[in-house]
């Protein structure tokens, strides 16, 4: 087996592995979004897996892509997604907290307050 063949094989394996990780993360996030009890836990599940899912799938595709331009475009999409997805999740949780949605806590602890409010 020549060096190029080994490289190609490794590339394919890596690409599909990343793709599998990404898809699995996406699926886990969706199950969390559906099954968890209240907004903040759901946001936690969705927010984290959203980023990891995008990272896995897009990086996997970039590794698999046949030419450099395609790989480059995928990396740009990835960078944008890595910025956008946590931002919107953060902004959403913040907006929810400000409009009075409070996390459901165990026991009798008082609900948290916004510092300076």
């Amino acid at each position: 087996m020549s060096a190029i063949e080994i490289f190609d094989l490794a590339r394919t394996a890596l690409g599909y592995g990343l793709l599998a990780i990404g898809s699995l993360a996406a699926l886990i996030g969706a199950i969390g979004l559906l099954r968890l009890p209240e907004f903040y836990t759901r946001a936690h599940a969705a927010g984290i897996t959203d980023t990891l899912g995008a990272l896995g799938v897009l990086l996997g595709l970039a590794v698999l892509s046949p030419d450099l331009l395609t790989a480059l475009k995928l990396i740009v999409v990835l960078v944008v997604a890595l910025f956008a997805s946590p931002t919107s999740c953060h902004a959403l949780a913040r907006a929810a907290f400000r409009s009075g949605v409070r996390p459901a806590l165990d026991g009798n602890r008082p609900p948290p307050t916004v510092p300076g409010e």
């Binding site: 990404g22 969706a30 899912g53 799938v57 897009l58 595709l61 959403l92 907006a95 400000r98």
Partner: protein
């Protein structure tokens, strides 16, 4: 293999839709909207690979940039509503 990825992404999309319809708060729905947006981007990118047409990635790029707008618009509305009340 690409088929498995497409199937997983589609399942994600369908599950998130259930959350978007069920609610109960508006924020849960926005969360689901956001998730569906990202999953559509990934689905389009994978579909481009499955059919060997890489032009589709441009669509994913545009979605990635514009996806934020809907979320921000809903949050703006809710903040404005609270201020008006």
């Amino acid at each position: 293999m690409l088929f498995a990825a497409v199937a997983a992404l589609f399942a994600t999309l369908a599950l998130a839709l259930i959350r978007a319809v069920a609610g109960p708060t508006v924020f849960d729905r926005v969360l689901a909207l956001n998730l569906i947006g990202t999953k559509t981007i990934l689905l389009i990118a994978v579909l481009g690979f499955a059919t060997d047409r890489f032009d589709f990635i441009d669509i994913a790029l545009v979605y990635a940039v514009l996806n934020l707008i809907g979320t921000v618009a809903v949050m703006r509305y809710l903040i404005g509503e609270k201020e008006r009340a």
